[in-house]
Amino acid sequence: MTLPTEKRTLLTIVTEAVVEQTLLRDLDRLGVRGYTVSDARGKGSRGVRDAAWEEAANVRVEVICERAQAEDVLRHLQARYYADYAMVAFLAEIEVLRPEKF
């Protein structure tokens, strides 16, 4: 028997550790019901961020939600963060059980 999964969207954000708290507050305000955060380092258009110290550290934030909400958040990121912060964000289609949770 196949599982009764439902489609949701996974939004992944990689950005500067220094904005973690601000970003998570924004997510709360946008109605997101959960997120997962881990530490990361990396390289992009704003150069190498090797996490050698706080200033140069990244975080990786994941949010599972409905497509529409993911697009809302992405729109907000674009308006509020893209110009001034090292940031990358992308969407992927995933499947979950318990659709009421996300």
């Binding site: 220094v18 996490a51 110290w53 200033e55 912060y85």
Partner: protein
């Protein structure tokens, strides 16, 4: 003779420039900075317990003004001579109007090694001078706009890690007094200089990463990074003379004034003035001012302090 803790800084710098794999575990760096901040606070609080606190109030007002004045002066120079944009100038001015705990710790070590006394309230000055420049910097960048999330900023400023540890350490030192602190001397006083040495090793590595940015930015950054601390040190000495500080206290107040923040202010500016380029300020603060202060500045400020007070060094 150069202090051994400064040799650790030079070693870190050399290793970084040679692109060695060397790096401190970040938990060690964070632990060392926590211990140094607590130790400075404890020592200050222990000293404060022996004197009346009321006469301190005008002194606190004076050092706040000192930090504010430095921020405005730096902003004017950066806008006028440096032709920086408003946001970049405001952000960098806030770095220079605030203070650096690492520089202060090297100054304290310099005096301790030479058995030179200083006033216990220097630790209070350190805590107090971190914040005002941040607020001025934001106002300079934005005006007093509605948008600014002052609550978040106030939180960042007054409850940031550094200020919390300094104030907490002071409170504990003040309550416990010398006898109460005796059982924990082992960790906080006997290990202070060794902890500072390791901390400066990592500082050397961090500074070495600023070289690329420095090369890109040309001479003005270097000139500002050397000139501003000298100017600030003179302001600090003047303030300290007005307050009647001892030569040791004068040296530390000049060091505080000359120092520029590379932890609290960058984080606050990143949030409050995001369009300012953080690499610019860090290149000046870490690539020029910090090394200058610990290598040449502190002895110089002490020489000036003894001359101004007429003390024999």
């Amino acid at each position: 003779m150069i202090d051994v803790v400064v040799l650790f800084f030079l070693f870190g710098l050399a290793a970084g420039l040679a692109r060695s794999d060397l790096k401190l575990p970040s938990a060690l760096y964070d632990s060392l900075s926590l211990i140094l901040l607590l130790a400075i606070g404890l020592k200050g609080g222990e000293g404060l317990a022996k004197q009346a606190l009321a006469p301190l109030l005008p002194q606190l007002g004076a050092v706040i003004l000192l930090g504010v004045a430095q921020t405005f002066i730096a902003f004017a120079i950066l806008r006028g001579l440096g032709r920086l944009g408003r946001a970049d100038a405001a952000s960098m001015a806030a770095h220079y109007g605030s203070v650096s705990v690492a520089t202060f710790a090297v100054g304290v070590n310099w005096l301790l090694v030479r058995d030179i006394e200083f006033e216990p309230q220097m630790a209070v000055f350190l805590a107090i001078m971190e914040v005002p420049a941040i607020l001025i910097g934001i106002v300079l960048a934005r005006g007093v706009s509605r948008d600014t999330d002052w609550r978040a900023l106030g939180h960042e400023a007054f409850l940031g890690k550094g200020v919390t540890l300094l104030l907490g350490g002071m409170a504990i030192g003040w309550i416990a007094g010398p006898d109460g602190l005796a059982p924990i001397k082992g960790v906080f006083f006997d290990l202070f200089k060794g902890a500072l040495a390791l901390f400066l090793l990592e500082m050397g590595l961090i500074v070495s990463r600023q070289v690329g940015e420095l090369k890109r930015r040309g001479l003005f950054i270097v000139a500002f990074g050397l000139g501003m601390p000298l100017l600030s040190a003179l302001l600090g000495l003047a303030t300290g003379l007005a307050l009647g500080l001892s030569p040791g206290g004068l040296t530390l107040l000049a060091t505080l004034a000359a120092s520029a923040s590379y932890i609290a202010v960058p984080a606050a500016m990143r949030l409050a003035v995001p369009e300012a380029n953080p690499a610019l300020s860090l290149a000046a603060v870490l690539g020029v001012t910090f090394p200058f202060n610990i290598l040449a500045g502190i002895p110089l400020y002490h020489a000036l302090a003894t001359q101004f007070t007429g003390a024999t060094p």
